[in-house]
């Protein structure tokens, strides 16, 4: 997949269009002029999500009613499709060649992995960012997984509400169990699908993970189920069903769903030590890059195509040694988009790159 050009209108301060190079694209401009907005627009086109906000309506320019981001995507030799994300109020419309599509059908036209300071939460933040990293990776190679995740989250929210009501109203235990049963039954099957998909995805990441690409220490990852040590994880469906029935009282007491993959984690270690606690900020950046590159490889294995790779504020986040290694690794693989405010970066890495200069949201020149 190749993004040949990208255009935006009403999306933050952006206006206009630029064409993209096959390899490295450097979006260069002073801070506050919209280079990150262009990267966000490309991310939106690729994943239908922003890497900055969950509320896309925030991205519509204050004096506009709609925001449009459009891309020309080359699928293979002869096929070029126009894909479009249209934001209006709180609604998001996706089109392929002008025809409205569902998220599941839209996905698969383009995909992007992104490195920025927020994504560092994956290696240093709470487990939910690591679960999200895994879930996004699974969706990238299997879009219908979106539905499983969304159904699971709905079931958990409904169940939590039920548990809280039961606690507040002091509902008799047998009645609570009858009310919980229909939700737990769905939870068992959805949780099993999520568990299986994540375990398999981590296996795949492990097969391709470059353990020492950036640093001397050896990187390792492992999926940690919250049901570890509670029984046979190979028969997850029976195990979770059993745990759910054993722990009903505790769930009512706490008012929350205590059992399920929403409490799992991805363990990230370097030389056997926990990255989150003991890694330096440089090691954490290396680890995140290695994880993202593993995601890129798995994507390539499954789709037979490379996704886009986006890096925001590249020289603020990474030193030249890591940037050099990274760009060398990505060369000939992904179409890469980076943003920078430094001319010195362009001089050092821009020789074979497409350079897009941005001022006040407008692409002012390409070279």
């Amino acid at each position: 997949m190749l993004l040949e050009s990208v255009a935006a209108d009403g999306f933050r301060n952006l206006d206009g269009k630029f064409s993209c190079g096959n390899g490295l694209n450097i979006i260069c401009g002073n801070n506050g002029h919209g280079k990150t907005n262009w990267l966000e627009a490309i991310h939106l086109l690729s994943t239908t999500k922003s890497f900055r906000t969950a509320r896309l309506s925030e991205a519509i320019r204050f004096d506009a009613t709609t925001a449009i981001v459009r891309g020309e995507v080359r699928q293979s030799g002869q096929i070029v499709r126009t894909i479009q994300v249209i934001l209006e109020g709180n609604t998001k419309t996706l089109t392929v060649n002008g025809k409205k599509e569902t998220v599941q059908n839209y996905m698969g036209q383009l995909y992007a992995f992104v490195f920025n300071s927020d994504e560092l939460e994956i290696v240093r933040g709470s487990p939910d960012s690591r679960r999200r990293f895994l879930d996004d990776g699974i969706v990238s190679i299997f879009p219908p997984f979106v539905q499983t995740l969304s159904d699971f989250n709905k079931v958990i929210r409904q169940k939590n509400k039920l548990l809280q009501n039961a606690r507040k109203d002091e509902t008799p235990a047998n009645k609570v169990e009858a009310l919980l049963a229909p939700w737990n039954e769905q939870l068992v099957s959805l949780a099993s699908r999520i568990h299986k998909a994540r375990v398999r995805f981590v296996e795949r990441l492990n097969e391709v993970l470059e353990r020492k690409l950036f640093d001397r220490e050896e990187l390792s990852i492992r999926y940690v189920s919250s049901l570890e040590g509670k029984g046979d994880l190979d028969d997850y469906e029976s195990l979770i069903a059993e745990r759910l029935s054993l722990r009903t009282q505790a769930e009512i007491y706490s008012g929350y769903s205590l059992i399920g993959p929403h409490r799992d984690d991805l363990e990230i270690n370097f030389d056997g030590r926990e990255m989150r606690k003991f890694g330096s900020s440089g090691q954490q950046r290396s680890a995140l890059l290695s994880l993202l590159l593993a995601g890129v490889s798995v994507f390539h294995e499954q789709q037979d195509e490379y996704p886009l790779f986006l890096i925001d504020d590249i020289d603020a986040e990474l030193d030249y040694r890591r940037i050099g290694k990274l760009l060398e690794y990505l060369d000939g693989k992904t179409q890469t988009f980076v943003t920078t405010s430094k001319e010195s970066f362009v001089e050092k890495f821009g020789v074979d790159a497409r350079v897009i200069r941005v001022a006040e949201g407008l692409p002012t020149g390409e070279s």
Binding site: S150, A178, L179
Partner: protein, 204 residues
């Protein structure tokens, strides 16, 4: 301070109470009404009044009807050994369009959703059970309950809850096949898909 004079503001408020209508649509509808000729408004008001006066819930299946029992419950040609359970009256309409189902219905008028405050008692479910006992006056035994709630998490929970209550009575409980998009509303499923879903129903 009111943006509009009181009668207009009140009309906008009434429209906003309707499902799926926000501030903008409510304003548009209100101004549309203001531009209508007097007699069109009279017709509209009359239609609203009539629907409340004449339409009742069928005492047997909870369908909306102007005669009780409804046309399905009172028809001698319907198969009384089957009851298809749906969430809303428009789901019944979707199934009728297939012309392949000849049994009776039971309309719940909703689905289980703790978040929206809907438990079993908020559904029109309890009057299903008297219909299942063999000493019902029409004497015909119900042999199968087909659950055709929406393929959403709420619809699934509802199906599961009902199945747990009905199965111990020795009645076959089936769920329509989810060949249709998950997370969707049966309102938008076409006849062919619905026909397939009905014929591929499975035991739960």
């Amino acid at each position: 301070m009111l943006e509009y004079s009181e009668p207009v503001a009140r009309l906008i408020d009434e429209f906003k109470r309707l499902p799926g209508i926000g501030q903008k649509s409510a304003q548009r509808l209100a101004f549309h009404v203001l531009r209508l000729p007097e007699e069109r408004v009279e017709d509209f008001v009359e239609a609203l009044r009539q629907v409340k006066e004449k339409i009742v819930f069928c005492s047997s299946c909870n369908n909306l009807t102007d005669v009780d029992p409804c046309q399905y419950c009172s028809s001698p040609s319907r198969d009384r050994s089957m009851i298809c359970v749906v969430e809303e009256p428009y789901n019944l309409v979707a199934i009728e369009k297939t012309r392949s189902y000849k049994g009776l219905y039971h309309i719940l008028h909703g689905s289980l959703s703790p978040i929206r405050g809907i438990g079993p008692d908020e559904l029109m479910l309890s009057n299903l059970f008297p219909r299942l006992s063999t000493d019902e006056e029409d004497g015909e035994e119900v042999k199968e309950i087909i659950i055709a709630t929406n393929p959403t998490t709420e619809g699934e929970a509802t199906a599961n809850y009902i199945a747990r209550l009905v199965k111990p009575l020795g009645i076959r409980v089936t769920r329509i096949a989810m060949g249709m998009p998950v997370g969707s509303d049966l309102e938008f499923v076409d006849e062919v898909t619905m026909d397939k879903a009905l014929s591929n129903r499975h035991e739960i």
